[in-house]
Amino acid sequence: MSFLELNRVGKRFGEHVAVEDMSLSVAKGEFISLLGPSGCGKTTTLQMIAGFMDPTAGSICLNGRDLTSVKPAKRGLGIVFQSYALFPHMTAAENIAFGLEMRGVPRAERDVRVREALAMVGLDGYADRYPRRMSGGQQQRVALARALVIKPDVLLLDEPLSNLDAKLREDMQIELRQIQRNIGTTTVLVTHDQTEAMALSDRIVVMSKGRIEQIGTPHETYERPASPFVSHFLGKTNEFQGEVIRRAGEALLVAGSCQWPAPVGPSGPVTITVRPEKVGFDSGSGNGVKARITNRIFQGNHWLFQCETECGPAIVVRQNTGEAQPAEGENVCLVWRAEDMGIRSVGGAS
C-alpha cells in the first residue's frame, strides 16, 4: 500500500539531534509536504531519503525495497534543490539531458524526451540558454524538468519556490500542482511556508524540533491542530484563558463574563483557542467576550481588528463584504460558534 515508507528514522550530528523517531508512509502518487520552521530537520529528512545522508536510526523503504544500502545514484529519485543546483556550464537542454545520458538513453530518444520536458514546464524555445541567462523562475522550471525527465519514482523538492518573488511563487505553485497531477509522480515537498504546503499537498507533515507534530490533510491540520505548536504555525490563533467548572449534573466553560456548556474532557483552568476569521461581532448583549477595538487595519479583501478583551488581546478577521464595520475605540462583543472553539487544559495538550 504505502510506496515510500520512513520507519522510525533518526539522525543525529554528534550530540545534536536533527531528526528523531520519524515514521511516515507516503502512498503512490501522493503529494506530501514536510512543513516546519527553519532548522526543524526537513532538509535532513529529505537528504536521507535522497541518500546524501545516512540515517543514524531506522530505515527507509521505497516500493518494498530497503534503501539503506542503495547509493543515491541508484535510487532513481528526482530532486529539485533550493538553489536549483543547475550545471552552469550546460545549456537548459544539456542540463535536462544529463540524467538521460547517465542512464544510457540513446541520443534520438533523449532529444525527444528533453523537448517534451521543456514543453511540459513551458520552456520551449529556451533549449540553448545557459542558466545564468535565465530568470529565477525559468531556472526553477529547468531544475524541475531535469528532475522529472528521468521519470523518478519519487520527486523530492527542497524549498523549490522560496527564491521566487511572491507573485511568481503563486503561479509556480499552481503549475507545480498541475504538473504533478498530470504525471502522477509521488512527491515530497519541503517548505516552511504554510500557505504553500496547504495549496499544494494532499497531506501535510508538520514538524518541530526534529519530530512530527501532526500528519493530516491541509484541512485537518488547520481545523483540528493536534498541538499548540501546529495551531500557531498554521495561521493565527486567538487564545483566551478560561475555566471548566464541573458540578453535579452540569459542566460549564467560563471565560470572563460568558459561559458555554463544557464538552467532556478537561476540567479546571483551560486555554480556549479560536481562529480570528471564526470570530464575529455582536453589538447586542448576547453571550460574548467583551472587547474594545484598539486597531482597525484595512487589507483589501478583509479587515483586521486588534482588540483588547476581558480575557486578553485578540485579533479578528472579517471579510470585506461591503458591510459597515466597527470603528477603532468601539466597544463590541466577540462571538463564535461553540464548535469553532478548541479547549485544552493549561499546561497540557488538547
Partner: protein
Amino acid sequence: MSTSASVTAAQESAVPAPGKQERSGARAPWPLLLPALILFVAVVIVPLAMTVLLSFHNWGQYTGIEFVITLKNWHEIWSDPYFYEMFARTFRIAGLATLIAALFGAPEAYILNRMRAPWKGFFLLIILGPLLISVVARTLGWALLFGGNSGLVNKALMAVGVIDGPIPFMFTEAGVVIALAHVMMPFMVLSVWAALQRVDPQIENAALSLGAGQMTIMRRIILPQIMPGVLSGGIIVFALSASAFATPSIIGGRRLKVAATLAYDEFLNTLNWPLGAAVAVLLLVALVLIIVGSNAIIERRYSEVFR
C-alpha cells in the same frame, strides 16, 4: 605581491562581473586618483620608459654606455641563436611549471575545499606556507635535499641502494621546473579555490541523483566549472615563472640561463646594460602579449557561461 587579492583580481578579469561598466559614473572623483597616479608614473612608467630607451643605446667594452640610438642590441638578440635558445628555455620552463602546478594544484584545492573545519584551515596554511618563506630559503631547501652527493634525499636513496649515483637535480631544467612549480603552487591553489567557492555546494548531489558516478562528476561537472580558475591561475603562474629570478639562479646555476638571470648577468657582470635592458623589455613584451592574448581567449570562451 599580495596573494589572495591578486588571485581574485586575476579571476575577476577572466570572468567579467556584470554591471562593471555601469558603475563608472559621469561625475567620478577623478582628482582622488592623483596620488596613486603620481606614484605609478614615478615608479613604473618612468623606469619602464628609461629601460626601453636604454635598450636602444650602444655599449662598448671600453666606452661603456653611449647615448646614441641604435638597433644593435635588438639585432644581436635577433641574430644570435643563443638568445633564441635562452628564451625558448625560459618559456619551456614556465610552461612546464604551470602544467605541473595545474595538475597538482587543482586537485589540491578541490580536496582542501571538501575538508572539515579544523583541518581545512590547517592545510590551507600548509599550502600557503611557501609564500610565508623567502624564495631563496625555499629554493635552498631543494638544493639541500637534492644537491649532488651530499643532498639528503640523494644520500638516503644511495645508502638504501635504490640509486647508484645522485639524482641529477641541481643545474638541470627538470630541477628548475619542479622547484618553480613548488614555489608557484599557492597561486594555483588559491585561484582554483576561488573558483570552487562559486560552485554550488549541492551540485555534486544533483549530479549524483541523476545517476552520475564520481569520475563523471569530476570530469563533466566540477572540472568545467573550475577551468576559468585553473586558467587564470595558470596565467599568474606562467608570468611569475617566466620572470622568476631566484629559483632559476640557485637551481639552474650560471649555465642554465633564463631571461631574468641573463638580464641580471648583463647588468651586473658584463655591465652591458643596454643588452640587458633589451632582454628585459623583450621578456616583458612577450609576457604581456601572452597574458593579454590568453585572457582574451578565456573571456571569449567562458563569457557565455559565467557572468
